[in-house]
C-alpha cells in the first residue's frame, strides 16, 4: 500500500457519489483518473485491505434486526463450531476472543424472532449454548480508520 492507496482509503470511507460515472468523479477529487482508481480499488479488495466497496446498510433501519452472540467453546472444538456458526448467512462477523466466552458473532436478519430461530439452530448444531445479547440502546456508532 503506497501513499496514493492511503489517500483513497482515507478519502473514500464515505461520500462516494451517486451519479452515472461515480469513480470518475471520485478520482477527479483525488487528482487521478478513473482507470487508476478502479485498478487500485481492485487491488485493495484483492489484497484484503478493504473488505468491500459500496453502500453500508443499517440493517435495523431497513426493518431488520441485529444481535451479538457469545459462546464458550473448548479450543479443540473451535474449528468445527466456527464452521457451523459461519455457515449461517445471518452471521456478519465472528471473532475469536481471549476469554471464557471465546466466540463472539454478530447476526443481522429480518427480525429478532428470525434471529432467535438461528440461535436455536446453532445451539442444536453445535451442542453448546449461545448467549444472545441484543442491543437495547446505541450510544454511538462511527468508525473511520486512518490508513
Amino acid at each position: 500500500m503506497d501513499d496514493t492507496d492511503r489517500r483513497i482509503v482515507n478519502a473514500l470511507q464515505g461520500g462516494f457519489p451517486l451519479c452515472s460515472r461515480p469513480y470518475r468523479e471520485a478520482a477527479s477529487r483525488l487528482g487521478m483518473d478513473e482507470h487508476e482508481l478502479l485498478s487500485r480499488l481492485r487491488t485493495l479488495l484483492d489484497t484484503d485491505v478493504l473488505t468491500r466497496f459500496g453502500p453500508m446498510y443499517d440493517v435495523e433501519r431497513m426493518g431488520g434486526a441485529f444481535t451479538l452472540c457469545a459462546m464458550s467453546v473448548p479450543a479443540a472444538d473451535l474449528e468445527r463450531v466456527g464452521a457451523l456458526v459461519n455457515a449461517h448467512a445471518e452471521v456478519a462477523h465472528n471473532y475469536e476472543r481471549a476469554h471464557r466466552f471465546n466466540v463472539w458473532f454478530v447476526m443481522g436478519g429480518t427480525s429478532h424472532a428470525a434471529l432467535a430461530n438461528v440461535v436455536s439452530q446453532i445451539e442444536a448444531e453445535t451442542g453448546y449454548p449461545v448467549m444472545n445479547l441484543p442491543r437495547e440502546a446505541e450510544f454511538f456508532v462511527e468508525l473511520r480508520l486512518s490508513a
Binding site: 478493504l50 443499517d58 466466552f101
Partner: protein, 156 residues
C-alpha cells in the same frame, strides 16, 4: 421494506461493481432505470438506511491490530447518561447497552476500542474506567485473537 429497495440491498450489499458505470450495471440486473436506482439509493442515504457509501477497510490490514471489546457493569440508573459520554470518546467506535445474563455475564455496557496496539487500547480503557467513576461495579476487556468471519451485515 419496499420490494424494489430490498432487491437493491441484496444486489449491492456485497459491494458495487468496479466498472465505470456501476449503478447502470446494477440497474440492468434489476431491470430498472439507472435514474430510479440512483433516486432510491439517495433516499436511503438521506433517511439513514444507508450509513454511507464507500470503502470498508479491514482494521487488521490498516495496522489496527488491537481490537478491544470493553464490557462494563454500570448501575442501571446511570448507564444511559454514562453510555452517551463513553460513546462520545474519540477512540470508541461502537457503544451499546445490552442485557446482563446473570450469573455468567454481569456487563450491561459495551464499548469497542480500536488501536494500533494494546498499549494504546489499554490507555483508552483506563479513561473509560475513570469516566464511569462510582457507577462502575466491574469490567473486563476481551481482545480478539482471530477473525473467524467478516462479511458485513447482510440480508440473508
Amino acid at each position: 421494506m419496499n420490494p424494489i429497495d430490498e432487491r437493491i440491498v441484496r444486489a449491492t450489499q456485497a459491494g458495487l461493481p468496479l466498472v465505470p458505470e456501476p449503478y447502470a450495471a446494477v440497474a440492468r440486473t434489476l431491470g430498472i432505470p439507472e435514474e430510479e436506482l440512483l433516486a432510491r439509493l439517495s433516499s436511503m442515504l438521506a433517511d439513514g438506511r444507508i450509513r454511507r457509501i464507500g470503502a470498508v477497510p479491514n482494521h487488521y490490514a490498516l495496522g489496527y491490530r488491537a481490537n478491544a471489546m470493553s464490557v462494563w457493569d454500570v448501575a442501571d440508573e446511570a448507564v444511559d447518561e454514562l453510555g452517551t459520554a463513553v460513546g462520545a470518546l474519540p477512540f470508541v467506535s461502537h457503544c451499546y447497552r445490552r442485557p446482563r445474563r446473570l450469573p455468567d455475564w454481569p456487563y450491561n455496557l459495551f464499548a469497542m476500542v480500536h488501536g494500533r496496539g494494546r498499549a494504546e487500547t489499554e490507555v483508552c480503557v483506563l479513561s473509560i474506567r475513570d469516566l464511569l467513576g462510582s457507577a462502575l461495579r466491574a469490567h473486563d476487556v476481551l481482545y480478539s485473537t482471530r477473525i473467524l468471519k467478516k462479511t458485513g451485515l447482510r440480508l440473508a
